[in-house]
């Protein structure tokens, strides 16, 4: 196991270096730069822009800039945002909470409902319920989140006045109840699509197992239906779901750009878009490294969990 971990760790490190190299190059070779947004400021001249670029160290050759950045990262300094001067890790940390809050609550809803719908669909295959669930899942998958979010705001905030139109809290209130009321709409809107995804995956994972010989044997032995379903079918069906969950981890922390925009939720998705728009290199690079690490960690976790859940799998 430990040999396996060391091996995986070494692999990950090489991958991270490659990701950072490609990311840095693509970012810096793209035309424009972090200073061009200031060009239309009254009285701005090219000489001023060049002076400030030099002061920021942006005039150095790219390989030098990369090595400088990489060395700092290596010793734990992720740099400071060009936009507000705040250390990158702090910037990420500040947005992470908002994202975690939204993503965890919507994931709980979507995995919960998705699993139930998937299991019911699989056990009552081709029933009215199954057909309805399939059609609704297709509809949910096809609705653009942006549109659905706006419709929800118009209905529940503007017309009915039941729920706030967006934001994470009322500034100055910030009580639990305040957070909760603000969380309802975005997490449900975001969950809608994910319920569809999870229920589809769950249904097909169940179906893969349900027709197998050992299930028939279990039934033939006269085991109660619930026992067969929950201890034999579901336990086996959950294996691919664990892998899926591992792959979902980076998405979870990467934030949901569209939902965050519609509901003015100050999360990671918007941070990434804003930082990209302003060509805030340190933050974009920081986010890139952060999500690359999440992908690697997510995969590793999933592999380990599968090994724990399935005694047949051995990590070597």
């Amino acid at each position: 196991m430990s040999r396996y971990l060391i091996h995986r760790f070494g692999q990950s490190l090489v991958l991270l270096i490659l990701v950072s190299l490609v990311g840095f190059m693509v970012l810096n070779l793209a035309p424009g730069g972090p200073l061009s947004q200031f060009a239309l400021t009254p009285g701005m001249s090219q000489a001023d822009l060049e002076r400030i670029a030099a002061q920021m160290g942006l005039d150095r050759p790219l390989p030098i800039q990369y090595l400088d950045w990489f060395w700092r990262l290596f010793v734990g300094d992720w740099g400071n945002s060009f936009r507000d001067g705040v250390p990158v890790l702090e910037v990420i940390g500040r947005h992470l909470f908002a994202t975690l809050l939204l993503m965890i609550s919507s994931t709980i809803i979507s995995v919960g409902i998705g699993t139930v719908v998937g299991v019911m669909g699989a056990t009552r295959r081709y029933s009215l319920f199954d057909y309805t669930a399939t059609v609704l899942a297709m509809v949910a998958l096809s609705i653009p989140t942006f549109w659905f979010g706006l419709v929800a705001i118009y209905t529940f905030a503007l017309d009915l006045g039941w729920l706030p139109a967006g934001n994470m809290y009322t500034i100055g209130d910030q009580s639990f109840a305040d957070y909760a009321t603000h969380l309802i709409m975005p997490s449900l809107v975001l969950a809608l699509v994910n319920v569809a995804i999870w229920s589809r995956y769950m249904r097909s994972a169940m179906l893969d197992v349900i027709d197998q010989d050992f299930i028939r044997t279990a039934r033939a032995k006269g085991l109660p239906r619930w026992r067969v379903l929950y201890l034999h079918v579901m336990r086996n069906a959950l294996l691919p779901m664990i892998t899926l969950a591992g792959l979902q981890l980076p998405t979870l922390l990467g934030g949901a750009l569209v939902t965050e925009t519609v509901f003015t939720w100050p999360g990671m998705g918007r941070l990434f878009l804003d930082s990209l728009g302003y060509q805030d290199y340190p933050v974009v690079m920081g986010l890139l490294m952060f999500s690359a690490m999440l992908v690697l960690v997510g995969n590793l976790l999933a592999d380990i969990l599968v090994a724990l859940a399935d005694p047949r799998v051995r990590l070597e």
């Binding site: 009285g43 001249s45 400071n80 934001n167």
Partner: protein
């Protein structure tokens, strides 16, 4: 306090909370704080911005939305109102030639300061702070956003805590306007930092302004509270909040629901103007901006070197339809790059006419003959060019397509090549790598008419100059006039000079003026003191005068 549609789900809980911790919350909830004296600041306003303020050191590189914070946390020596008149702020009086503040040759300055001003941390404000600020602006190691004007200062002398003098190496008439946008920063807080570029001050500014910094939640909001020791009139609000809402549709929706009280910056999009004026409980203000929208032409391109071409293109520009159909008739057409509110705006410029026939005639006479494909050509130069602007600006993109059709009718081929903002306004714009561009530019620093950065031949970056003369305008008469105007201090004398420059620009047409921007702003009914000012870059400049009932 704002009238807000309370979400019903938390109504009872909130009520319970208010009863429970009412005493603790009394300071935050003005509805409970009924016993507070009328003169004390009360209530709050939430301003919605579609861009996020992130730069709080007013002398570092920033965008206009950041100035929304600067105006409320800091003070300049003197400010400028909507009529272009200077009013004293930290200075006891606005220095002029008459009161001896500026010597008749414009070289010696003497500024008297107020003696009753303290920084937000309680330290008294003195002439040392002014000296520190002026020196910081030209400090080699500081990433100063603007040095123009400040570079000319020599021998700053602190005469007393309330008096400061300096010399200028040459007379520079725009300097008062530049100073009116220059905020004083504290020597004791910023000067003691190891590196002013990364000082803690930049994240938690200390100023002398009407509002004090409380906190910022990145990506979300900035909270300011009333400065009880403010030297001037106001503030009347207890709290001022700037909320970042990136999407304009969402911004407008939250204005409708009452989640934000003031919709500022880009404001309400023109297509929502009609609906917005009918919203109950909201006031909608059409605020002129000093920016002018134009189709700019790169005079370095052979197609545009012939004045006949530029004239013909202007004649083929259907400005009325653009303004009415695409901008809902909100902005005003213009012939000049100065806002029509400006003292220096030249009213007598020839009016634009839309006349395809005449445009064709001019091009025929100038020898631009139509080729087989209907596109004109002269001496091997095809009348074909690209047009660029920021990708994603839908109204502008529609305008481009419309203009493309009009230009085709006079045998000019315009192709649309839009770019993302970071690319568009980088070297592409600054080093004149474009053919033609749709751009909105604010040509002036406050009320001052100086446009040297834009029109002087020494400002062509593509030719080794330094400025923002990206059209590559090279006109000796304009150079001489700008030189002259920059040294005159009497407004009437200056107006003659700048009137003439406007005439030349209208005749030469390096850019085809379309309209002066008008922004649709909105605020909750009953809010007083909201006063758009064409001489500053942002409408939240006077929040100290704002009142809510």
């Amino acid at each position: 306090m704002t009238v807000r549609k309370t979400p019903f789900l938390c109504l009872t809980r909130r009520g319970v909370m208010q009863l429970g911790i009412g005493a603790a919350a009394a300071g935050l909830l003005p509805t409970i704080a009924g016993q507070v004296l009328a003169a004390e600041p009360s209530g709050q306003v939430i301003v919605g911005f579609s861009q996020e303020p992130t730069v709080f050191n007013p002398h570092m590189l920033h965008i206009e939305v950041d100035e929304g914070i600067h105006w409320n946390v800091f003070d300049p020596l003197f400010g400028v109102d909507e009529n272009g008149t200077f009013f004293p702020a930290l200075a006891a009086e606005v220095p002029t030639v008459e009161n001896g503040g500026i010597s008749p040759d414009g070289l010696n300055w003497r500024v008297k300061l107020r003696d009753d001003v303290v920084w937000h941390d309680g330290t008294p404000f003195t002439a040392e702070d002014v000296k520190y600020t002026l020196e910081l602006l030209v400090d080699e190691n500081f990433r100063s956003a603007r040095r123009t004007g400040h570079e000319l200062i020599r021998n700053i002398e602190v005469v007393s805590p309330t008096e400061i003098t300096w010399e200028m190496t040459e007379p520079f008439a725009p300097y008062p306007s530049i100073l009116a946008w220059t905020f004083m920063v504290p020597k004791h807080a910023l000067g003691s930092a190891e590196d002013p570029n990364t000082a803690a001050f930049n994240q938690a500014p200390i100023g002398t302004g009407p509002f004090k910094w409380v906190e910022r939640v990145a990506g979300d909001y900035i909270l300011l509270e009333a400065n009880e020791n403010y030297w001037g009139e106001g503030p009347h609000l207890e709290r001022l909040i700037f909320k970042y809402i990136p999407d304009l549709t969402v911004l407008y929706t939250q204005f409708k629901t009452g989640d934000i009280d003031v919709i500022a910056l880009q404001g309400i999009t023109p297509d929502h103007y009609q609906e917005a004026t009918g919203l109950p409980g909201k006031e909608i203000v059409l605020a002129p901006s000093s920016a002018m929208e134009s189709i700019s032409l790169n005079m370095g391109r052979p197609q545009f070197q012939d004045p006949a071409v530029r004239q013909a293109l202007y004649l083929a520009l259907d400005k009325a339809t653009i303004i009415d159909a695409l901008y809902y008739g909100l902005p005003r057409p213009t012939e000049s790059y100065y806002p029509q509110e400006s003292f220096y705006y030249n009213k007598d410029l020839p009016k634009h006419e839309f006349n395809i026939e005449k445009a064709n005639q001019i091009l025929d006479e100038a020898g631009w003959a139509r080729g087989d494909d209907g596109i004109r050509e002269k001496d091997g130069v095809r009348l074909s060019f690209s047009n660029s602007t920021t990708a994603g600006n839908h109204v502008r993109e529609q305008m481009q397509q419309f203009v493309q059709q009009s230009f085709k009718e006079i045998g000019a081929e315009m192709t649309i090549e839009n770019l993302p903002p970071a690319v568009m306004w980088g070297d592409y714009w600054m080093l004149s790598q474009w053919d033609s561009v749709v751009v909105g530019i604010n040509f002036t620093t406050g009320p001052d008419p100086d446009t040297s950065d834009y029109f002087k031949s020494t400002g062509i970056n593509a030719q080794g100059g330094s400025g923002q003369n990206t059209w590559q305008i090279n006109n000796p008469e304009v150079d001489a006039l700008l030189e002259k105007g920059g040294k005159l201090f009497v407004p009437e004398e200056r107006k003659e000079v700048y009137d003439r420059i406007q005439e030349i620009m209208r005749e030469d047409l390096p850019f085809l003026p379309i309209f002066q921007y008008a922004n649709v702003r909105g605020h909750q009914e009953g809010m007083e003191g909201y006063n758009p000012n064409v001489n500053v870059r942002i409408t939240t400049w006077n929040a100290k005068d704002w009142k809510v009932n």
